[in-house]
């Protein structure tokens, strides 16, 4: 899966925007109704809608609760101390961070610091992930629980982990694709098979 496709799935996450204009009509999308949009009144919309409206200067984006220095520092510390993966505040934290910080950094105080901490958290988790994968492969594992991994993280080890486990499995129960043995018997019992080519 391409990262853009993970992003695509993450873009339906709801975020809060503050409209800069008023429009009492609901936005009636196929994927749900959103609105009404009243100047200054926070309202939830899918991330991709928020980005469009922000680009057209129709709104400000309110960062999610967790997108804030102290919360993120706490998450980062916990991630560092814990042997396991901690549960992230959003299963699409990277997508949300990239999109919101990308188009609405003027709506967020200390956006650069936030970006750095999120990148730190990602890096800590990635290095943990690589060690766990290595262990799984060394133990010739046939399954693993990955409950607290987010989709972007899972996608970052695809296809290398699934493919490696596929190959380990093949090496354990190797069967060549050709059924060499069975072919032989039919041939011997019919020594003329090579003479019967003529249709």
């Amino acid at each position: 899966m391409d990262p853009e496709e993970v992003e695509f799935l993450g873009e339906k996450q709801l975020v809060t925007i503050v409209p800069l204009t008023t429009d009492d009509d609901y936005l009636k999308l196929i994927s749900g109704d959103f609105g009404p949009f009243r100047m200054g009144m926070p309202v939830k919309v899918p991330l991709w809608v928020a980005v469009q409206l922000k680009r057209q200067k129709h709104c400000k984006i309110q960062p999610p609760d967790w997108m804030e220095i102290e919360t993120l520092e706490a998450i980062k510390n916990e991630e560092k101390l814990s042997r396991n993966f901690t549960k992230m505040p959003s299963k699409f934290y990277m997508v949300e961070a990239k999109q919101i910080l990308g188009c609405a950094s003027d709506d967020i105080s200390r956006a650069d610091e936030i970006r750095t901490i999120i990148k730190d958290i990602w890096d800590i988790r990635m290095s943990k992930l690589r060690s766990s994968i290595d262990l799984l492969v060394r133990n010739n594992g046939a399954s693993a629980v990955v409950t607290n991994l987010t989709l972007m993280e899972i996608n970052s080890i695809r296809p290398i982990l699934p493919h490696t486990l596929d190959q380990i499995r093949r090496m354990k129960n190797f069967k060549p694709f050709h059924g060499w043995r069975s072919q032989d018997t039919s041939f011997v019992s019919d020594s003329r098979s090579s003479t019967s080519f003529h249709s």
Binding site: D2, E4, E5, E7, F8, Q52, R55, F187, S191, R192, S193, S194, T195, F197
Partner: protein, 196 residues
């Protein structure tokens, strides 16, 4: 050793995993000749082998078996060659559309050209059947991010009409702000470049 030419053929495939070099008629003819020879020899020897069973003479059976293995191997290589070229050709249908550039076409065999046009019409027929009005599966390859994108023209393409009826001139190095859905195909064909 048997099947050495077939091996050369497969190595050629292996070197060109995403491209189509000229259809190797000469090499294939040589392989075909080898196969025909093996078959003829086997027919003779299998007959002798059959007779010698009665007369208790040295058997040609091992000879026949080994040649038979070589025949099968040659066929596997011939088919793998054709199969993998088709896969490549199939990808070209998705990337170039139903009309191939002449120099690609000149690398194909007659049978490949026929296959390509049959595949193309099979695909079109399938795409037409979807939903009420059909759907073009060769576009919308990536999740859309915005309705309009900035593009730079890479060649002197000429006039281009948009769905709203307006016409613009695509000149080399000219820049345009266009609906993504309308220029996606030109980007894939290398006429326009998406400027990020």
């Amino acid at each position: 050793m048997f099947c050495e030419k077939a091996h050369v053929l497969i190595k050629e495939l292996s070197r060109n995993r995403d491209a189509l070099p000229p259809y190797n008629t000469d090499l294939l003819n040589e392989i075909n000749t080898e196969v025909k020879q093996l078959i003829t020899q086997n027919q003779e020897d299998a007959q002798i082998s059959e007779d010698s069973r009665v007369m208790n003479h040295a058997s040609y059976l091992p000879t026949v078996k080994i040649r038979h293995a070589a025949i099968k191997r040659n066929i596997r290589c011939i088919l793998a060659y054709h199969y993998n070229r088709l896969k490549c050709l199939r990808n070209m249908r998705w990337q170039f559309g139903s009309i191939l550039p002449p120099d690609v076409k000149s690398n194909l065999s007659q049978s490949e050209i026929e296959w390509f046009s049959k595949y193309s019409s099979n695909l079109v027929q399938y795409m037409r059947s979807i939903g009420d009005e059909g759907i073009n599966l060769a576009v919308d390859l990536k999740p859309p991010k915005s309705l309009y994108i900035e593009v730079r023209c890479l060649t002197d393409y000429g006039q281009f009409e948009l769905n709203d009826g307006s016409v613009l001139l695509l000149k080399e190095n000219s820049r345009h702000y266009l609906p993504r859905s309308e220029c996606e195909e030109l980007i894939r064909q290398g006429v326009l470049e998406h400027v990020v």
